[in-house]
């Protein structure tokens, strides 16, 4: 067996960033749970969640400056030890997750105070940090089994977060998600187990190397199938999405915003890692029929939930169905198997996180000040809460993909990818799904802005400044990333180039 690598002569903080990114939220969660107090828990999570983006940005900067970072956890050198590996793709994702977490926590205190009883608030923040720890761990680790462990850490925290919703239906949603999520994770670990059996390694880079001669074997393909289905359950790929709408609809507002903008995105990232880095794009290219089936599912995901969304009475559930549809776009981009498509998929992952985060937080503001979640009751909110609904409109335009918003950029790449692949039916599907978004977003906008408020509706209580500020930061980002795309499309384009060209882990 291996011996630990030589201890570093001086322990530089900058060298330990990958570990810190996971350890800090984990310790924060423990501290928060020991404190058992909402206010103190909030303080801890606020500090931790603002430290995370600093670490993530520092790592992105390091990666840009000097290439991928490889970190041997506990000093055990890979491939036997667990390796944390940061490259362009996941540094980008880590920045996204950590910033979304920081913004959500900044938004949270009064929203949480209005939705969760005092004795549970400390636990809420602990769970939030645990979830953050799990998601960042999934994104940063380069070890197949470690991914599973972090997946379960984040999932368990998520079940708890969802179950804390005020409505009793939240409990059922959490339970159903628990069953489906566990099956998904177990499928994943099954697939990873098959790969481990044939390659004898769990390190993704190592696995990619050793898998090359074995790609034709049934075990390798079965492994990919299990992993895809498992992750498919986690990222709610149609038709494996049934857990998602209720979970998002009944979780506390802040939790919904955070989960919608990060949890499914990390799952997409894992899928991309396996399809492009571990197996290599050639495998997907060789299995045309299977790729076509995934594309077909992606199209169904874009269209069917969008139609369902149009008929939802609850605005949170409407947005949840829209999320399922947007995941369809992302998967479509990933499985177009060309650079433009993958760029579109990855950049939509980023843009959708911001857009959906903004929409769910705007709904959080509405729930806070009026308690309304039904669209019919939102009449006149445009006049009584113009700032909140203004942000909602901007983000809604982003969701539709109007030019000048973030959503447009990613849809452009997706359509370009489909055009380059000569798949015209996909172009048609993308634009058709965008048109459906016009309907479901338009419905809310029309009710809120062009209907008179019902006379018996009580005046909404004012939205606290930090909630409005965070919502508007995200709304402004929806527009900002429509014009300035160095981060939202430039980094994905670079990542796509590496993933498609390099085959093995970039």
């Amino acid at each position: 067996m291996s011996t630990p690598a030589d201890p570093q002569p001086a322990l530089m903080l900058a060298d330990q960033l990958p570990a810190l990114l996971v350890v800090v939220p984990m310790l924060g969660a423990m501290v928060a749970s020991l404190l058992r107090n909402g206010a103190l828990g909030y303080l801890v999570s606020l500090i931790v969640s603002w430290v995370s983006p600093v670490i993530a940005l520092a790592m992105l900067w390091q990666v840009e400056a000097s290439g991928p970072i490889s970190y041997a956890m506990g000093g055990w050198a890979p491939p036997l030890g667990i390796e944390y590996r940061v490259d362009e793709a996941n540094a980008f994702l880590l920045v996204l997750i950590s910033i979304m977490a920081a913004l959500c926590i900044t938004f949270a205190p009064r929203s949480i105070a209005s939705e969760i009883p005092a004795q549970s608030r400390g636990w809420y923040y602990a769970m939030f940090l645990m979830c953050l720890c799990g998601l960042q761990g999934m994104a940063i680790t380069g070890d197949a089994f470690n991914i599973f462990v972090f997946m379960e850490i984040s999932s368990l925290a998520m079940y708890a977060l969802i179950a804390m919703g005020t409505d009793r239906r939240a409990l059922v949603a959490a339970y159903q998600y628990l069953v489906i999520g566990t099956i998904g994770a177990t499928f994943y670990v099954l697939g990873a187990g098959l790969l481990f059996t044939i390659t004898g390694t769990l390190n993704l880079v190592d696995m990619a190397d050793r898998l090359q001669p074995l790609l034709g074997t049934r075990a390798a393909l079965a492994g990919l199938a299990f992993i895809s289905v498992g992750i498919g359950l986690k990222l709610a790929l149609f038709p494996l999405h049934l857990w998602l709408p209720n979970a998002y609809a009944f979780a506390p507002s802040v939790a919904t915003a955070f989960l919608a903008s990060t949890a499914t995105k990390v799952a997409v990232y894992i899928l991309v890692r396996f399809v492009y880095s571990v197996y290599g794009v050639e495998v997907a290219e060789a299995h045309e029929i299977d790729t076509a089936i995934v594309l077909l599912l992606a199209v169904l995901a874009m269209v069917a939930p969008s139609i369902v969304a149009i008929f939802q009475a609850n605005v949170k559930r409407m947005l949840a169905y829209s999320s399922v549809a947007q995941i369809g776009y992302i998967i479509l981009g990933v499985f177009l198997l060309n650079e433009a498509g993958l760029t579109g998929g990855l950049s939509h992952l980023f843009n959708h996180a911001i857009i959906k985060g903004c929409l769910f937080l705007a709904v959080g503001c509405i729930v806070f000040s009026t308690g309304i979640t039904k669209i019919d009751q939102m009449a006149g909110l445009g006049h009584t809460m113009p700032l909140t609904m203004g942000a909602f409109v901007l983000a809604g335009l982003g969701l539709i993909g109007v030019p000048g918003t973030a959503g447009f950029v990613s849809k452009w790449y997706l359509i370009q990818g489909a055009t380059e692949a000569g798949l015209w039916w996909l172009v048609a599907a993308i634009v058709f799904a965008s048109v459906l978004a016009v309907f479901y977003v338009g419905r809310v906008v029309e009710v809120a802005w062009f209907r008179e408020p019902s006379p018996e509706a009580a005046a909404p209580r004012p939205v606290p400044v930090e909630m409005l500020a965070v919502t508007w930061i995200l709304a402004a980002l929806c527009i900002y990333f429509g014009f300035e795309t160095d981060i939202s499309a430039g980094v994905p384009a670079e990542a796509a180039r590496i993933l498609i060209g390099g085959g093995a882990d970039g």
Binding site: T343, L397, I400, G401, V402, P403, G404, V409, K411, W412, Y413, I415, Q416, T419, E420, V427, V431, F432, S434, V435, V438, F439, G442, E446, W449, F450, R451, E452, G482, F483, E484, T485, A489, G490, A493
Partner: protein
């Protein structure tokens, strides 16, 4: 000032104006003053640019890269200059008119109304000066979105439903067809920039693919209202009349046909179209629209509805001329953009004035109204003659060039369409004029009390545009020189 700054100013002035209007919410007089000052400043800037373009300059801004070769860039070519001049000039007149109309009818929510108007004009400028398809598309969509609240202005069930049709149809066509067309163009030719003589000739598309691409453009630019994507225009008539007048006779619809002509001239290029015949089918469809819309207009008793279908018909004149793809027809199409704008806005102004003064909306109610409202109906008569194309109105000139273009290209079908539609125009406009001047007015009743002219600002505005329709016939120099420059840029053989 250098031209680049001036171009940015054409966007900045209406934007700042919108902010100013919003800030002046509590003070109606100040608010309207801001609108007027903004309109005049914008007009001054555009005129400044016009003078330079007439000297042969083609100023443009530095492109700002958005992503992967897609740029936000503005540049002026003659066609866009013409559209910008028409829109900014008529905005001043329309602002004067709006003041009379909105106050005369005690309309609610006037501040958002003027704000949206300024934003719409900003996007019209952006459309006019767009240097590439992406920029065009960006401002095209802003124009759609900023006019949606104007259509829904009344806020009742009817207005909401029709505004919904408006928004959905325009967004669906632009997202569904125009965006794929733009991306297809970008993928095929490697650029989205407008260039003299077109950019597709070297892209290697087959004739069939070029035809399909043209179809995506023609249906994608829903604002041009070719059948069957014309439904939004009659639906938009629920809006207050100033909106119908400036936006749905000038800014929005002209942005549509302008975009079609721009695509024909600077994306396809006449040589390429003549070579592939990719636009021939569109000549037939536009011709059909001209006739069908005229026939539908005949059946409508509601004055604004009739005007709307007349607009659909007249827009297809422009599309048809563009699709014929000869230099003379392009001159005709360009002239008609300006000619129809000034004439149709007069008609809408008159309709609004009638509504403000007597709350009449139906043609059958207009017996003898010319005696009560001589200025209004006088201007209306000029507008009606212009729709038919009788000299001395400006549309005579544009029709002349369209006919010439059709003859040189042996497009006898298009020639026949114009002839037939002229007859139809006569049939649906002249009876209104006849009724207004030669029938006896009904006795005043409680429902329809006696009334005089409309509000003074409205009457001033419609007199100006009515006179404009004749003045442009007498002094077409500037417009014609721009149109000629467009045709020269388009290439093609006569």
């Amino acid at each position: 000032m250098d031209s680049t700054t001036l171009i940015w100013l054409t966007l900045a002035i209406p934007t700042l104006g919108a902010v100013g209007i919003w800030l002046a919410d509590r003070f109606p007089n100040l608010r309207e003053a801001v609108t007027l000052v903004t309109a005049v400043l914008l007009w001054g800037t555009v005129c400044h640019l016009l003078a330079r373009v007439l000297r042969g300059e083609r100023p443009g801004t530095e492109p700002i890269e958005i992503f992967g070769g897609i740029e936000l860039a503005l540049a002026i070519e003659p066609l866009g200059m013409l559209f910008a001049t028409v829109a900014s000039t008529l905005w001043i007149v329309n602002s004067i008119y709006s003041i009379g109309y909105m106050r005369g009818n005690n309309e609610p929510r006037q501040t958002p109304f003027y704000v949206c108007f300024a934003v719409a004009l900003m996007s019209a400028m952006g459309v006019a000066f767009s240097e590439n398809l992406f920029t065009l598309f960006l401002f095209y969509e802003i124009l759609t979105l900023s006019t949606y609240p104007l259509v829904a202005h009344k806020g009742n069930e009817d207005a909401r439903r029709n505004a919904g049709i408006y928004l959905v149809l325009l967004l669906v066509t632009s997202m569904g067809f125009l965006l794929p067309a733009i991306i297809w163009t970008a993928v095929a030719s490697g650029t989205t920039s407008f260039a003299d003589g077109g950019i597709l000739a070297s892209a290697g598309l087959s004739a069939g693919a070029a035809t399909a691409l043209m179809a995506l453009y023609v249906f994608g630019i829903g604002k041009a209202a070719i059948m069957p994507v014309h439904f939004w225009l009659p639906a938009a008539m629920v809006a207050p009349t100033p909106v119908s007048a400036l936006l749905h006779a000038v800014a929005v619809v002209k942005a549509g046909v302008f975009a079609v002509v721009k695509v024909v001239v600077y994306i396809f290029g006449l040589d390429y179209l003549q070579e592939t015949g990719a636009s021939q089918w569109a000549v037939y469809l536009a011709g059909f629209t001209v006739i069908a819309a005229s026939l539908i207009a005949l059946t409508h008793d509601n004055l604004k509805k009739r005007l709307a279908f007349s607009t659909v018909s007249q827009l297809s004149y422009v599309i048809m001329a563009a699709m014929v793809a000869t230099p003379a027809a392009i001159i005709g199409a360009t002239l008609h953009i300006a000619a129809h704008a000034v004439s149709k806005i007069t008609l809408f102004f008159a309709a609004g004035s009638i509504y403000t003064a007597g709350h009449l909306t139906m043609i059958s109610q207009l017996d003898g109204i010319g005696r009560r409202m001589p200025f209004t109906m006088g201007a209306f008569a000029i507008g009606a003659l212009a729709m038919i194309g009788v000299p001395p109105t400006v549309t005579f000139l544009s029709k002349w060039f369209m006919l010439q273009g059709n003859v040189t290209a042996d497009q006898w079908y298009a020639l026949g369409v114009i002839a037939l539609s002229t007859v139809l125009n006569t049939l649906y406009f002249l009876p209104i004029v006849y009724r207004a001047f030669w029938r006896a007015p009904p006795e005043p009743s409680a429902e329809h009390p006696a009334h005089g002219e409309g509000p003074l600002p409205s009457v001033i505005a419609l007199s100006i545009t009515g006179a404009g329709a004749i003045a442009l016939f007498l002094y077409p120099d500037i417009v014609y020189r721009l149109a000629e420059a467009v045709a020269a840029a388009a290439g093609g053989t006569p």
